[in-house]
Symmetry: C2
Subunit: 391 residues, 2 copies
């Protein structure tokens, strides 16, 4: 791999870069506001014409999903459900419009709200208030799906997750414009000692400067801490991201955005078991079935699987655990029902190999050969042959 | 509260401060190494005398715990279990000594290992290798308890948790000496934009500079993100820590160390429900029953409860949810069986009030009055009357 320089010209003209960061963020907000206004205007127009207004939402279910190999992620299909304003639907119709109004207000005040925040805000909506958070969550999911077909994500609507993002360390400067002044904070991820940069709930406003060669997405906090404390990013010229299990929305979006904008390959380093492969890696790469309308924003189709592979268990003579029934079921499901694994011959072979061996191995199993074997031997060897990574 | 300046003299003499940071860390390592050598030497001496060597561990159970109101945390009692070297115990005895040897080696190489790392390392210990990770976890817990009575924590033995630490933002500079060069990285927690500083798995080597007035420990990521994005730490002159539910060991230790070394009060801001009160807050403040040997390092006895209080539900007319059976059971348990709540009259009254009202409220319920009501009204009002916080 040849080292590539990216966005480094910005270092010479910080003023220009800063206004660029803020301007891109404002442009996206303008697009989102226009989409909200369009949807609301159409409802208003129908009412003035004495017609029954309606809103049309994509159906969110596995039946309405396809795996587009070209695009590389699960896509939502064309099925729509139409909610027409009637006596029976008046409350949920009103709630949907109020929720869209809240989104508009959040963009205009450069603020954000979690699902819970939105639910509690509705307590002041009088007749349109939600009684249970499950109701407001459903309306928010509908709005997210509605705007997703226009290319706008929930985070762009300013609805942000309650959960934490992952941790980041390495050869990366994150540019983060202040929400009030627009002044850009330069966050240098090489300067956190043994600590790390914690990804915010939403990352749409961030941009990046980096001369790293790749992003390494790591399953466990333990391995991340080892690579960070030993500054693996310095010798390997990379960016480390801790996923801590199945990555959160913010973490997935952060990796995707960073990879897209800086043209960086993404390598996943997870446990060799059906959970690591078909839950963590599959979710990172192609998204999940029941949230396919999100895939266009959140999946990382360019991700590849560094390891631990079933063949690594053999090659590195790793200590293993027997596969449990739940592991076997998960692996068989992946082979039989998962559009991603079904379309990838190398993965069919790898999963079949794992099932045949009947064992699984954790990434920390490499510690058998020494605590820093992973840094000194395993990763360097693997990174010499990136073309051989599983797809 | 008067603003206080702490450690600011260090800013004038960075060189001195840096060597001070590294020296303190080395001094502690010297103490730990001596304790390991003492324990091993005693075993060796007994063998040379042809006696049966033994190791004595504190019993880790609720029966062997007391609540020391003076110290402010659960303390482990004087009960010991003695493991004598016999034909039956030879393997676990050898494993215990090897694990102590691993700890010694980690200190000498300035490295660390997680539970999993230690388990896989043992795969090279031949006859002394562990077959299951539960076995090695138990031995590690025993060693931790053994050294805890000498005032040494698991992290000082260089066994670190696999889990992430929490996120931090605000008026704090973290000083983190590089594990190889000793050069101190200065991490300014006001400079993370909408992101945050992610606490490393172990924090023993860190020190701090701050002129903050208090630490605010927050239950949910959503509220943390709001306070961080709106720079609440700037107006309130404080340090924000996101606990994300029950705080991890690293997060608790970080808060405790920061509070101790900089003489900062700690205020907890959690949901008003039996889980927030008796799990999250109680664990933060006094520790938990089955890990009382850790309390001396991990609990934060100086923590006080800012809210949300049962009385806040009334005063702020907050939206509520009914208490579930599990909530009621947890609250009654706290009143009846928990040495901490039993010793604190204000808490007995507050929990009784909550049970009588039969409802709970989330911290985000304040969003009923506006998304930023928590910043503009609730927290400032509360912080004017810190003396009224629950103990």
């Amino acid at each position: 791999m040849a080292a590539r320089k990216k966005n480094t010209s910005a270092k010479k003209a910080p003023g220009k870069r800063q206004s660029g960061v803020a301007a891109a963020s404002q442009r996206q907000d303008g697009v989102t506001l226009e989409q909200i206004r369009d949807a609301a205007t159409e409802v208003h127009r129908r009412i003035l014409e004495k017609g029954k207004p309606d809103l049309s939402f994509p159906v969110r279910s596995l039946r309405n999903v396809s795996y587009a190999k070209g695009r590389g992620y699960f896509e939502i299909g064309r099925q729509r459900k139409v909610r027409t304003l009637t006596v029976n639907t008046v409350k949920s119709f009103a709630q949907t419009l109020r929720m869209m109004g809240l989104s508009k207000n959040l963009i205009e005040t450069n603020d954000f709200a979690t699902k819970r925040d939105a639910y509690y805000q509705s307590k002041n909506w009088e007749e349109a208030r939600f009684e249970e958070q499950t109701e407001s969550d459903t309306v928010m999911d509908d709005i997210e799906a509605l705007f997703s077909v226009r290319g706008t994500s929930r985070e762009q609507l300013r609805f942000v997750p309650d959960e934490h993002g992952g941790a980041v360390a390495g050869r990366l400067v994150v540019l983060d414009p202040d929400r009030e002044t627009g002044a850009v904070e330069r966050i240098d991820c090489t300067r956190f000692g043994s600590g790390a940069y914690s990804i915010p709930s939403t990352v749409e406003h961030l941009s990046f400067e980096t001369d790293a060669k790749f992003i390494l997405a790591i399953e466990t906090g333990g391995v991340f801490q080892r690579l960070q404390s030993h500054k693996f990013w310095q010798t390997a010229d990379c960016i480390l991201v801790s996923m801590a299990g199945v990555p959160t929305r913010a973490t997935r979006r952060f990796i995707r955005k960073l990879s897209d904008e800086c043209k960086l390959p993404v390598y996943a380093f997870v446990d060799c078991d059906p959970y690591g492969i078909s839950n963590i890696y599959r979710t990172l790469k192609v998204g999940s079935g029941n949230a396919a309308h999100l895939s266009q924003f959140f999946c990382v189709p360019q991700a590849r699987y560094l390891g631990v592979t079933p063949q690594d268990i053999v090659d590195y003579r790793l200590p293993t655990h027997p596969l449990q029934d739940v592991d076997i079921k998960r692996a068989k499901d992946a082979l039989k029902n998962d559009p991603f694994f079904k379309s990838q011959k190398p993965w069919q072979d790898a999963i079949a190999q794992l099932l045949k061996m009947g064992v699984r191995a954790e990434q920390q199993a490499l510690a058998k050969w020494g605590l820093n074997y992973v840094i000194d031997e395993y990763l360097p060897r693997k990174l010499e042959q990136t073309a051989r990574f599983l797809p």
